[in-house]
């Protein structure tokens, strides 16, 4: 069996309505799942940068990269798994906080360099950033404090030097 690998790509695209559908089509054609995706405009507002993570064997991942590169509105594709880059995601997590656990929750948030954004009726919303593995660990840690729900942004990433 071929090894399953994770791939993070940075895709610079023309900021048009159907570009995302075309990229998604490349994945669905080969039954590949997009694990996470995040997108926003760049310093040139006519362009959008999409950071996308996926998993699969290397051969198929390379084929997908080629297919994406072949789409008309794609400006550039960089495989961030092959280029030194910083990869982060953001977690918004809602915790049920009581008098009993409040101190320990606060300590944990402080240790993880989190930020409390909202405190409403015993529900706290905390913002924390980290790489994908950190985020999984953080969710695990909060599980025991009555973690209510969370939202992850998906990975965003930037090459360490200009590619």
């Amino acid at each position: 069996m071929t090894k399953v690998k994770e791939k993070t790509v940075s895709i610079l695209v023309n900021n048009k309505p159907d570009v995302l559908a075309r990229i998604a089509g490349v994945f669905s054609l080969r039954s590949f799942n997009i694990e996470s995706i995040s997108a926003n405009i760049t310093k040139d507002p006519r362009m959008t940068k999409i950071i996308l993570t996926t998993r699969g064997n290397q051969v198929n991942l390379d084929k997908i990269e080629k297919q994406i590169n072949n789409l008309v509105d794609i400006v550039q594709v960089n495989d961030l798994t092959k280029i030194p880059s910083v990869r982060r995601e953001m977690l918004l997590i809602r915790l049920k906080v009581s008098k009993e656990n409040q101190k320990r929750v606060s300590q944990t948030i402080e240790k993880l360099e989190g930020k409390v954004l909202s405190k409403e009726g015993g529900s706290w919303i905390v913002e924390i950033t980290g790489d994908a593995d950190d985020i999984v660990n953080i969710i695990d840690q909060f599980e025991k404090f009555g973690m209510d729900d969370f939202t992850r942004t998906g990975t965003i990433a930037l090459e360490q030097i200009h590619p």
């Binding site: 159907d18 559908a21 084929k63 080629k66 590169n69 072949n70 008309v72």
Partner: protein, 557 residues
């Protein structure tokens, strides 16, 4: 008259050299149909939109220019889909113009609204929905550019009715910065030298020519390469006729219905140079047993076609004509006496043992037709037994005189595609070779042919069956025949006559010469119905799941 969106379209079509459009109108396309009336562009009304798309495709395949079809929104647009997919699979350049409901109605399930951009996304090279009159000229220019350059393919331009009717000024500025695909990779002369070296060092090289060779117009460069390095060549089905077969290096086409010797040579080779082919499963059968001893080099303009289906040792991305021109001086003159003698002997042997090349009486029929028709006649084959009989028999003297749906295998393709071929090449004779099954699928086009008096010669090889299905059920499903019989109660000559087309029925076993003679003499369209035994199959064939060297020559007992 005030200038409207439709005028911009007419202007750009003319700038792009479009002389013919195949289409079918509807309420939403009328602003454009109306303005086409005053232009020199001829609009041919087919009897079904699917036929319009195939006709545009046939036009493109026969001429090398971009073919154009036009439909209304909704069902008009969806009826084009099979034709667009057919063009996509064989890299045929067409621009499909689809009318759309007014922009204010988009997304409201308006009458005859359909999301044709969404529907065609996986079967187009690119597509545009024009929602702003200011983007119309750019989108159209871009559509023609994308369809015809790089690896050609279909492009859809969806045109809401209010955009077609919007008042505007005709643009006069030049169009710059048209986007390219397949042009992002740089050429690499070192890689070409590696390919040349591997070719020089090989003892049993084989060249595989795909449909890309004729798309690139590289027939002459490839012929020089073949004769300089003395490399025998095989083709894919789409590559048939890429270069003239007359120089003795041609060993036929590979794959499921290909030549046994061609498949065996690829299997035995130590070096393969594949040019303009994606190694489709029809050519390779099971990939891990394909060319097991060979180092494989591949040249293609489309990066996604490289390594798509098999592992390639020496890839090169580039236009075939340019690449082979650059490769030629790097390659040495070679004799390869042993390899050539061996392959040529086997070829002579094969043709002595298989006088009709495995096509039986149908092969004889098709050869007689070609002999009787003028040189340069274009054959348009349908899909099924008739297709394999035709591609194995028709002698292609030029790159674009055999047209068939290879990748998609679209039954019903031949009749409308022949209309397009004839419109594109009015001075050439065009023969349709179809089975009864494929003929029924676009039989309404007899009305188009009759109306415009296109002098097409239509040969229906009628075995009363879906012949290839019958053959597969006979060979691989224990002769349990189901859903393959069409019957023979239909008098196709009477049907043709009803459409105003002359014809005659002949039996293949008695001499069909009289019918062929009459067909070649008649000035207008003509239908020749040739009755064939349903057990007349095509051999050899590769059973499903087997490799290219496991061809069978008859029914296992």
């Amino acid at each position: 008259m005030e200038t409207i969106g439709a005028d911009i379209i007419v202007k750009i079509l003319q700038e792009e050299g479009v002389d013919a459009i195949f289409g079918y109108p509807g309420a939403n396309s009328l602003p454009l149909n109306d303005r086409l009336l005053d232009s020199p562009i001829r609009h041919y009304l087919t009897r079904h939109e699917q036929a319009a798309a195939h006709a545009a495709d046939g036009y493109a395949r026969a001429t090398g220019k971009v073919g154009v079809c036009l439909s209304t929104s909704g069902p008009g647009a969806t009826n084009l889909v099979t034709g667009i997919a057919t063009a996509f699979m064989d890299s045929s350049p067409i621009v499909a113009l689809t009318a759309q409901v007014n922009t204010s109605l988009l997304g409201q399930d308006a009458f005859q609204e359909t999301d044709i951009i969404g529907i065609t996304m996986p079967i187009t090279k690119h597509s545009f929905q024009v929602n702003d009159i200011n983007n119309l000229s750019y989108a159209l220019k871009q559509a023609f550019h994308l369809a015809g350059t790089g690896r050609p393919g279909p492009v859809v331009v969806d045109l809401p009715r209010d955009i077609l009717a919007a008042k505007c000024k005709c643009p006069n500025e030049p169009y710059e910065n048209l986007a390219e695909v397949s042009a992002k990779d740089i050429d690499d002369p070192e890689q070409l030298e590696k390919i040349a070296k591997a070719l020089d060092q090989s003892e049993r090289p084989v060249l595989i020519l795909g449909g890309g060779v004729k798309l690139s117009g590289a027939d002459n460069e490839i012929r020089v390469l073949v004769e300089k390095a003395k490399i025998p060549f095989v083709t894919t089905m789409m590559g048939i006729g890429s270069i003239s077969a007359g120089n003795g290096y041609d060993f036929g086409f590979i794959g499921t219905h290909g030549y046994e010797l061609a498949n065996r040579m690829v299997h035995q080779s130590d070096f393969i140079l594949a040019v303009g082919t994606r190694f489709s499963d029809r050519s390779t059968s099971i990939t891990h047993e394909f060319a097991p001893m060979a180092t494989i080099a591949q040249i293609d303009i489309d990066p996604t076609s490289i390594g798509k289906n098999i592992k390639v040792d020496l890839p090169f991305i580039g236009d075939i004509k340019e690449t082979v021109t650059a490769l030629l001086p790097m390659v040495s003159f070679k004799e390869r006496t042993q390899w050539l003698a061996r392959t040529k002997n086997e070829k002579t042997d094969y043709h002595e043992k298989n006088p009709d090349n495995g096509c039986g009486p149908a092969g004889h029929l098709i050869r007689s037709i070609q002999n009787q028709m003028p040189a340069g006649t274009i054959a348009v084959a349908d899909v099924g037994l008739n297709q394999i009989w035709t591609v194995r028999t028709w002698q292609t003297g030029a790159a674009r005189n055999l047209i068939t749906s290879g990748g998609m295998g679209t039954m019903g393709f031949s009749l409308p595609a022949a209309i397009g071929a004839k419109v594109g090449m009015p001075d050439r004779d065009v023969v349709v070779i179809t089975g009864d099954g494929g003929f029924y699928m676009n039989i309404q086009e007899l009305a188009t042919i009759s109306y415009y008096n296109f002098p097409l010669k239509i040969v229906v090889i009628n075995n009363g069956h879906l012949g290839m299905i019958r053959q597969m059920q006979d060979l691989f499903y224990g002769s349990r025949f189901t859903t393959c019989e069409l019957g023979n109660r239909v008098d196709l000559v009477a049907v043709a006559r009803g459409f105003g087309i002359e014809g005659r029925r002949v039996l293949i076993d008695e001499d069909p010469k009289e019918g062929i003679d009459e067909m070649s003499r008649v000035n207008g369209p003509y239908l020749l119905e040739v009755m064939v035994d349903p057990e007349s199959y095509v051999y050899p064939i590769i059973p499903p799941g087997r490799s290219n060297v496991e061809m069978i020559f008859g029914k296992a007992v």
